[in-house]
């Protein structure tokens, strides 16, 4: 192969590699700079920023594409409240279980006594 062609191929390979390195390095730098790779506090701050930026970004994209997404239905369910009430009810049931059991036993025995009278 001609020397100049070989040289051109090598240059192209080097440029390609340099571009890849720039892309990957840039992605890594952006992640580091936004605090995505820091400690817990920085991470939760970054999540807050992303949550705040999400609705305006969605609106921008909707305007750009010219269609309206259906409004998200508001769900009035709170997992935290459901869990807490479940825990409270379970433990209340456990705490009254012995007295409830003894009441039912007494009622049962009384019923049997009344039957045998």
């Amino acid at each position: 192969m001609h020397l100049s062609v070989k040289f051109a191929v090598k240059i192209k390979q080097h440029i390609l590699f340099a571009t890849k390195l720039t892309l990957a390095g840039g992605a890594l730098y952006v992640a580091y700079d936004s605090g995505l790779l820091g400690n817990g506090k920085e991470g939760s701050v970054a999540l807050g920023r992303a949550k705040d930026a999400f609705p305006p970004a969605v609106e921008e994209w909707m305007k750009y594409f010219g269609f309206q997404l259906p409004a998200t239905p508001k769900i009035e369910f709170s997992p935290l409240d459901a869990w807490n009430s479940g825990v409270q009810k379970s433990f209340h049931a456990l705490s009254v279980a012995p007295s409830t059991a003894s009441d039912y036993t007494k009622q049962g025995l009384q019923y049997v006594k009344d039957l045998t009278k």
Binding site: K20, A24, N39
Partner: protein
Amino acid sequence: MSEKELGQKWDRCLADSAIKFGTGLGLGIVFSVVFFKRRTWPIVFGTGLGLGMAYSNCQNDLKSHYVLHSKVAKEQ
């Protein structure tokens, strides 16, 4: 540590885990596409790295209440 403080630490932990998982996944995808001919292992590696960083951060955050922090006064 009060209940409120503990709850805040756990919230921070979850938020940070989500961020690190996403970042690890994203960077893994970038590196997989750019350098490793779209193989799966860089994506898995990046995700694992992110989760590991999140675990370490959580551990330090939850332990920090009980660890003695010394402040050395700088001589001026």
